[in-house]
């Protein structure tokens, strides 16, 4: 029987006990900025029109009030016909956001339905739906939207919503289909099938919940597309010109030569609003992407010491002594707070040697260390 060696009970202290990091915490910083920003806009959309100082359509014919720069009476100045830009902006944010969110919901729902159906039915339906998605993806959306809207008798919100949703689902549908097919081939679905669970139950409770990240990202993307498309359409003048969406504001600004006349307060606020909303959504999307794809997150975040690393750098080594002339020395400083360093380096492992340095390690001779000796 082997003799028990003298025992040390302490293990080197690991870092702090794990925290159950919720989804919000795990979002990287820029995604949180995006979410907050978007929240602000949503808030503006909800309460904005209730607090407009003036009626946005009220035209004040007096020339002294036309195209005035921001002042106390009109915080964002006036348009050509004396309308208050701020009021228009607030109403515009709500209209644009409303439209975009509805389109987002409808189009995302459509894309989930189509994607899941295609993946599940397989065969002819899959081919057909995939072809349909791809065709609508490749045909440029804007000219088609213009033609469609151009022929419609009304051009208000509803037709715009319909038309945008019609062209907005293919992108998400492809992704949902791919993901569904991947999940479907996983074992736990086969297990559910074996136990006789009905298809729709499998769909509702196992497949779709596994795709929430994808669906969320798809939704955000669709809203982004809807904002951009509706603003572009309004800018061209194809949608209803009597409602005050952000794009319509820009249309009037453009047609009234606001740029050439230097009335920046007319086109800058709506444009900025669109840009900021878009940015917020893009940031949010990147955050969702990074949550789902850990590699992207590792690329962005978990770099030892935050130093610049190339992916092909050799694995960093915690050293008790700095080696000669190499980049690894930098890592040592970065780890000065590491508990691992304290425990291991304090034990003072003897340094290795590079050819030429005295006091190095001698090559073992046959028979040396064969016993195992002290392999510690």
């Amino acid at each position: 029987m082997t003799v028990a060696l003298p025992v040390t009970t302490e293990q080197p202290e690991l870092s702090a006990p794990p925290r159950q990091l919720g989804r919000w915490r795990r979002l990287p910083v820029h995604a949180k900025v995006g979410a907050v920003l978007m929240g602000l806009f949503v808030l503006a959309a909800i309460i904005g029109p209730l607090v407009t100082p003036y009626d946005p359509s009220y035209q004040n014919p007096s020339p002294s009030l036309s195209m005035q720069p921001p002042s106390a009476a009109h915080l964002l100045g006036t348009t050509q016909s004396g309308q208050d830009v701020l009021s228009q902006l607030l109403v515009g944010i709500r209209l644009t956001l409303e439209l975009a969110l509805i389109v987002g919901v409808v189009a995302t729902a459509l894309s989930v339905i189509v994607g899941v159906t295609a993946a599940f039915l397989g065969g002819f339906w899959d081919e057909f739906l995939s072809l349909l998605s791809n065709v609508f993806l490749v045909i440029p959306a804007l000219p088609l939207l213009i033609v469609l809207l151009g022929y419609l008798s009304q051009r208000g919100q509803t037709p715009t919503i319909l038309v945008l949703s019609l062209l907005g689902w293919p992108w998400g549908a492809r992704l949902v289909r791919a993901q569904t097919m991947a999940i479907r081939s996983r074992d736990f679905i086969a297990a559910s099938r074996e136990t006789g669970e009905k298809t729709w139950r499998i769909l509702a409770f196992e497949i779709i919940p596994n795709q929430t990240g994808l669906i969320a990202a798809s939704f955000v993307n669709t809203v982004l597309y809807a904002i951009g498309a509706s603003v572009a359409l309004a800018f061209i003048g194809v949608t209803d010109l009597s409602s005050w969406s952000l794009g319509t504001m820009l249309y009037w600004a453009q047609s009234q030569q606001a740029l050439q006349l230097g009335a920046w307060w007319w086109f800058a606020p709506p444009g900025l609003a669109v840009a900021l909303m878009g940015t917020a959504l893009v940031l949010l999307n990147t955050g969702i992407d990074e949550l789902g794809n850990p590699r992207l997150r590792d690329a962005a975040g978990a770099v030892p010491g935050g130093r610049r690393v190339r992916p092909t750098d050799p694995t960093p080594v915690l050293l008790a002594e700095p080696p000669r002339r190499s980049r690894l020395g930098g890592f040592l400083r970065a780890f000065s707070r590491s508990s691992l360093l304290d425990s291991d380096a304090a034990a003072g492992r003897p340094g290795g040697s590079w050819p030429g340095r005295p006091g190095g390690w001698r090559p073992g001779r046959p028979g040396d260390g064969e016993n195992g000796g002290d392999l510690r």
């Binding site: 082997t2 690991l14 694995t315 960093p316 080594v317 040697s353 590079w354 392999l375 510690r376």
Partner: protein
Amino acid sequence: MTDLSGRAAARAARAARAAQAGRPAPEPRGSQASPPGSPVLEIRDFSVAYRTPAGDVRAVDHVSIDLRAGEVVGLVGESGSGKSTLAYGAGRLLRPPALITSGQVRYCGRRTVSPADILRMTAEELQRLRWREIAIVFQSAMNALNPVLSVRGQLTDVIRAHLRVSRGEAHDRAARLLDLVGIPRARLRSYPHELSGGMRQRVMIAMALATEPEIVIMDEPTTALDVVVQRDILGQIAELRERLGFSILFITHDLSLLLEIADRIAVMYAGQMLEVGSAGVIQHGPAHPYTKGLLSSFPSLRGPRRELAGIPGSPPDLRHPPPGCPFLPRCGYGTDDCAKVPMTLAPVTGSVPGAGHVTACPFVGPGSPAMPVSAGTEEVAP
């Protein structure tokens, strides 16, 4: 012996010239061939941790192992035991958030002047070391081969990265490498997706041998292949080792495979080394309870039928490694004392001195009675 590089021929020519001039044959520089049995790779006290937001994971914990010239060492363990981390970490191929927290990895091959610690090398020195001295055969050849380069492209890549040869010579050499592994030369122009699984793996092996390395690390090279091809590949590997004389570190979860092809076997669990010994000794006289459990987990083709025991339970969470022996929760011999064991490898009682059979379990040996089936019983080995 295949003369891939023409070095033997050059040496013979030099010797012949020297003889002609009446001089003694010149000693080739730095080529004191390592005497068989001398270590080419010595890993001492090696630890690797992964830094995650939820805590540090100790994937490898103060592990030591030697690899000697010309031998096959098998590294066996379950998934997550740290065997791959050990091998890749020793070559410093792990990516962040991995971090090597302790140890030394000394390499001393035929071509090095004196031993060098891999962990203290600079990136340039590492680049010269990689593949030339230590090559790797990856598990999944389909993933490890660049899909957009032809077979010839990938072979010449590695040849020209390390040897100063012209393009024509590199092509020549690539062709001879394919001959070595039994693949028709026409396949030089093929792309990875055009090859069968077995052929891809053989290309990987050919690539590994392209620069005549000292050590070849094989990371589960046959796991993804069917049994027939597996036998084929293993035979090929054995034959090549005979001819070229490299050492192999063979990583696998299949102990039965190692019993056939390895000289020595090292058993890992939860990032720690539990037992090391020659294949024969491990097969017939295992010391550690885990090894015993592994051996009783697969049937043998010959021999009496017996009940397969297996090992109940699952490996521990490496973020909170339990004190003492990590195998305790699943060990049939476990007692409270096991939680206080320092995990050092000590020679097995009753083993032949110098045979190198070591174990981390101070309580159980080859002579202990058969493992009780239920884990955590109070039975203690005498």
